[in-house]
Symmetry: C2
Subunit: 136 residues, 2 copies
């Protein structure tokens, strides 16, 4: 596994399994999703290991913790600044890589030092939308 050599963490089999699961994953999985997925290969996997690893990866800047789900934390291996489109029915989350101009007016910003932003778009995905009548 050359790919993860420079990550600055001990590369245990469990961590490699977690890294592999997250690599390119666009589902914004929860800790439990990750635990279930890697447990298939490592039946002794524990939540402590999952949370430890996620915490280390977050500290190193390899993943982002999302606050889009009120019920649980979800994790995003894509750390490039982007936004999210969330289906309010099935809770699936799509990445939005479009850019938006979001400059706060001076009188609103005040002395606040703004360092970033994140947009949540809400709506119904095509699948969930079909459950409703819809005439144009």
């Amino acid at each position: 596994m050359q790919k993860y050599k420079d990550i600055g963490l001990k590369l245990t089999p469990q961590r490699l399994a977690i890294l592999d699961f997250l690599d390119g994953n666009m589902d914004h999985p929860s800790a439990d999703d990750i635990y279930k997925a890697v447990s298939v290969r490592y039946p002794t996997m524990s939540f402590a290991t999952v949370y430890n690893t996620l915490d280390s990866l977050r500290e190193k800047g390899y993943i982002t913790e999302l606050t889009i789900d009120p019920a649980k934390k979800r994790f995003d291996p894509c750390t490039k600044m982007h936004h999210h489109l969330i289906c309010t029915s099935c809770k699936r989350v799509h990445d939005i890589h479009a850019d938006f101009l979001l400059e706060l007016p001076e009188q609103v910003k005040g002395d606040f030092r703004v360092t970033g932003n994140h947009i949540e778009f809400y709506g119904l995905c095509p699948t969930c939308d079909k459950g409703h009548e819809r005439r144009i």
Copy 2:
């Protein structure tokens, strides 16, 4: 209490205390914050009542449940569409009532029916920013 007459809920003293605490509140309190605040006047107040009331108020559209805090739900009595400016250090949340043009490109939106959006601005509030050296 004429003010809450038309709310469509039984107006118990506990509910009135919660409504009074929330009215004009800009702190985006958690259920626990609300529980602590109203417990001063109503020592027998229970979490069940707080959550029941918050749930009813949310259903009726009088409050919004915020997902800006990974640790717990926070509630906002201001239901007019607005955004938030969050200090990553002290976690305090300010309301942003500015408008932004957020139109998703067709090829990004696809058949998704977008119904709303919410922007989180991140940064350091003036107080927390003072802890860092900062020369212009």
